[in-house]
């Protein structure tokens, strides 16, 4: 029996007079991989920004259910979303270019530090041990993603595919229950896309997470997702398995235009 983990209930978001998200409702269940698709400007990233509380001005409700505790995300600050077990990546890779890859991963573990700035200045035993534990964790994840050898290099100058991986690796540092990926395959070549496909499966298995993603590469979405939500002009079109989505009239119309 699948349990819901993320519930959107009648979410609306306006920018001035423009309706970016219009009465959108859908539910993501624990352990699923769900794709959010729609033509350009359909409001997909806006949905992500509402879920992760970058936008607070939406109407309707967004709930996150973790260990049977249901929370209204609106009550949670944007910087505390990650503590709920919900973490995201960005459409344009948002990494720290002049930090090493390892340090970029440690930023993902920011909230797991218990020692404060004074212990860091004094380099107390506890602070050093804590840093070491988190570094080990980062090593594990980097090895899992096959980029361990690069750990001490700056992010600046790395190929795009590697940067995308680092961003995913950073989300894994926070022990996420659910990962939200904004166009993970954009800008990757076919081989890298295939690799990413496997990687997302592996992540779901190994880290036991739920994944919600936006992607334009239809082949990728159809292969990987358990269910797909299609939206257009911020409106809900359909939510179904990839096969049924392909057959759905409304979705075809949104992408190809109506025959009439």
């Amino acid at each position: 029996m699948s349990k819901p983990i993320l519930v959107l209930d009648n979410v609306c978001m306006y920018f001035g007079g423009l309706k970016a998200v219009d009465n959108l409702s859908f539910t993501v269940n624990e352990g699923e991989i769900v794709g959010l698709i729609g033509p350009n400007g359909a409001g997909k990233t806006t949905v992500f920004n509402c879920i992760t509380q970058f936008y607070k001005e939406y109407t309707g409700d967004i709930y996150f259910i973790n260990n049977d505790v249901k929370k209204d995300l609106r009550d949670i600050k944007v910087t505390e979303i990650i503590n709920q077990g919900l973490v995201r990546t960005f459409q344009n890779v948002e990494l720290i270019p002049d930090l090493s890859i390892l340090d970029n991963l440690l930023i993902g573990a920011h909230n797991q530090y218990e020692t404060g700035i004074i212990s860091h200045i004094l380099r107390t035993k506890k602070a050093r041990e804590e840093e070491q534990v988190l570094k080990e964790k980062a090593y594990e994840i980097l090895k899992f993603l096959n980029i361990f050898e690069l750990k001490d290099f700056y992010v600046k100058g790395q190929p795009y595919g590697v940067m995308k991986k680092i961003e995913i690796a950073r989300t894994l540092m926070s022990n996420p229950k659910m990962i939200i990926l904004d166009e993970p395959a954009a800008g990757l070549n076919d081989r890298e896309t295939d690799e990413l496909e496997n990687l997302i499966y592996e992540i779901k298995k190994k880290f036991n997470t739920t994944i919600l993603l936006i992607e334009h590469d239809m082949g990728f979405v159809m292969n990987i997702c358990d269910r797909i939500v299609a939206i257009n002009f911020g409106k809900f079109l359909a939510m179904d398995t990839p096969k049924n989505i392909q057959k759905n009239k409304d979705v075809q119309e949104a992408y190809l235009g109506s025959d009439a």
Binding site: T45, N49, F54, Y55, F90
Partner: protein, 292 residues
């Protein structure tokens, strides 16, 4: 009443000077993306030239002022070509430090070219020509400064708003890369901006000179006030800083006279800070939009 009028005339005069300097700073901020700390010193440098010409050859104030404006134009072009353009790719903060470098070069040049004796410049209209209104003395020179500055600023706004070159300046200010791709001669625009800014600074220096004599730091207060004016009015418009300049000049003169000589400035600055907390982009400024 007398005190009030005296303060009013005085504030209008200093306000005009601040406004000229502020316009120069905004012009460069908008076209070169840098806060030009050398604005004051570039003006001072050309005021030195004027004073030197007067001392050495006995020219009148109008002649040397004209000469100083010409040299200011040249100074602006030289600085842009030799220093600012090669540093086009440098970060804005580093560019600010480049303007500090310009300050140091000019400070080194001053005693070398002009000697260490202090020089003076007279008013454009001699002091004896003045009116008295309700007991307050109003010099014709003050009227001249206010009127000329207002006319100049009016002409500049007209130029920026209604001519082809003004349009080029505005588009360069809003997005240099796109403007360049659209065929706007951004290099010329930047160069002319530096030249114009240098002339505005020089004019401010010529107006201030009779009151303080000509020395290296003569424009320090003017320059700092001009920065404050830009912040108060908002750097994203050309007229905001002018309004800011007059507000600062009035607030300062009146608080210093009616409240306290020491705490007047502190009070004005603190109130502007509090104001900025609520209007972070100045009176007329707009918040730039950012995308997640």
């Amino acid at each position: 009443m007398t005190d009030f009028l005296r303060l009013l005339f005085n504030s209008l005069e200093t306000g005009s000077v601040y406004a000229l300097a502020a316009l120069g700073i905004v012009l460069i901020f908008r076209t070169s993306r840098t806060t030009n700390f050398a604005q004051g010193l570039i003006g001072t440098f050309n005021a030195y030239i004027a004073a030197f010409l007067m001392l050495r050859f006995g020219f009148g104030i109008w002649t040397v002022a004209l000469a100083a404006l010409v040299t200011a134009f040249i100074t602006g072009i030289v600085i842009d070509t030799l220093i600012i353009r090669p540093a086009a790719k440098v970060s804005p903060i580093s560019k600010q430090i480049i303007t500090l470098g310009i300050i140091m070069v000019l400070i080194g040049i001053l005693p070398w070219f002009f000697g260490v004796d202090s020089m003076t410049l007279p008013r454009f209209i001699p002091t004896e020509y003045s009116l008295t209104i309700f007991g307050a003395n109003l010099r014709y020179n003050t009227i001249f400064v206010i009127v000329l500055s207002t006319l100049l600023m009016g002409a500049m706004f007209w130029f920026i708003q209604f001519t082809k070159w003004g349009l080029a300046t505005r588009v360069t200010a809003s997005d240099e890369t796109t403007s360049k791709l659209m065929g706007v001669p951004t290099k010329t625009v930047t160069m002319v901006s530096w030249a114009t800014a240098a002339m505005l600074g020089t004019l401010a220096a010529l107006f201030v000179a009779p009151r303080v004599s000509v020395y290296a730091n003569m424009l320090l207060t003017v320059q700092i006030s001009a920065f404050f004016a830009g912040t108060l009015g908002g750097f994203s418009t050309f007229f905001g800083p002018v309004v800011g300049a007059f507000i600062i000049s009035f607030a300062r003169n009146f608080t210093q006279f009616y409240i306290s000589d020491i705490w007047g400035n502190v009070l004005v600055y603190t109130s502007i800070l509090v104001f900025l907390y609520f209007k972070p982009y100045g009176i007329f400024g707009k918040k730039p939009t950012k995308k997640v």
